[in-house]
Amino acid sequence: MTEYLTLQPMRVRIIALIVVWALHIVLPLALQGVPYVVFILTQMVFFTAFAFSFNFLFGFTRQLYLCIGAFAGISAYVTGIAVRDGLTGVLEAVVLGTLLTTALGWIVSVLSVRRKLVVIFTGIFTLAITLVFNNMVVGLVSITGGETGFRIRLANLGPLEILPTNLRFYYVVTAVLIVLTAISYHMVYRTKVGYAYRCVMDDEFSAELVGINVSRVKTLTAAFSSGLAGLTGALYGLFNQLISPSYYSFSAIDLPAQIIVILGGRATFFGPFIGSAIITAVNEALRFLGPFTQVVYGLILLLLLAFFRNGLVDFIRRRVVSWFY
């Protein structure tokens, strides 16, 4: 793992990243005439962002957060309720939701790094959060609208109003995604913190021995990624204009996000992008299955974990790139 991260020329990675960004910006312009495709692409970018958040936690610091959907949902409900009841403006509501999930993710991480068995503890705790979130949303019918959720009107996005309606959210999320990948790329590969990250990724114990504050790296990552999940979730709610538990359930967000990360390659920057593109295509192909999709996804996840743990990016590095040298 290490040698690939350090030996691979930096330039290749940056060029690849810029190509991916450019594709994200240009693609919908080319397909603008087909609203359904634009809709699917928007969905894809949302899931790339969710997967990116999960990847940063699970891939880079081995914290298995099984509540990305719940975090996204919490933020979306906060935003949605604030907007619906006219408590705050859209922007303030989104910021509020994001801050809330940031704090929540940070607390869970702080609690779990106190114990040495971080892996298990985080998994259990975040699963419990998912359960609690579902119960609360379904239970507090008077506030959340229960099973059916509630509708919100299309948010005013300010200067972005010049874009056609179906492209607005696409560009908002893409912008969020690009900014955040740029920040995290800079953090991981260009700064001292990045060295700490890569050490923790390779071997936590040795990282601790050379004096890296592993707990701090982990808790900060948790706060950052939970914030990203929250922000994306809030935007997802505004995009769908309907906030209901089925949009934020484990099988609706966490499961695809995890498959994307494992398939694409954990602890890589391109994994979420590649995985998301593939899973979006697969999802379209499986649409006829209806509720049975969950079974297929469970099976895919199981098989990926058993036989293809390292993901496509690693596969390409090992098998394809080596042809050219």
Partner: protein
Amino acid sequence: MDVSGLLFILDGVVLGTILSLIAVGLTMIYGLANVLNLSHGEILVAGTIAASVLLQYTGLPLMLSLAAGVLITVGAGVFIEKVVLRPVYTLEGDERVLLGLYMTLAFSILLHGILITTFPTAYLTVNLPTPTIDLNGIRVRTAQIFAGAFSSVILAILFLFLKRSWTGMAIRSLTQNEVGALLVGINVRRYRLLVFVLGSLLVALAGIIRSIVATVGPENGFEFTILALLVCVVGGIRSVYGTIVAGLMIGVVYSFLVYLIGTYLAYVALLAVVMVTLLVRPYGIVGEKL
């Protein structure tokens, strides 16, 4: 405290013993295989669904259907050990824990999907022919007492089995020091399978006991898993004794929270209670270092 308060305690104790039965299996499997079996609650539901389907459609007698349900659950447990976890056992340490947790989660998603789409209405309720007694105007179902007694007896037998029998001691020794146990000639693979069978048996019985006091439906699996996991964490994940104590504690606390603030908020409060407990005693209430 009035009689209804006492009833809530009784409710809590019964729920607590059921949770202990589920969680003890998790603890033992974790101790031996280093795998936290997240599909534990789902295989419980698989058993109750099998029993309920057999009861509804084949007219099999109650006892036989329940036995078939237990068999299905144990079969699922063996399947997890032999097939699902096979790639996991090739890994060691943290990686094994992580992958084990994750693979069983994936399996539980798969199983849940299959069960909920194939048998969406297979609810199991076992009505025992026990009387309802009148206590100061409040009706008490003796089935509840029976269920509590039943699961307590099972827990007692399990406790004695682990403390006294040779097999039980072998299991405990493997949990405490795997290398040492290997050195004195204990076959890890055999005991791992045994523990999965034992854990599945306990969880199947827990499902049946739960269906005496309430209804178990196809969607309940996840909930059982989470509650049992919280029990495990509070009890200190390696100690069977701690798990039983924590099970009773969480059962009673949860029932009281339901009584005080309602079902939906009770989960939030329970999670908060667990968080505080772990802040005060990071290694569980029994305080065994990991």
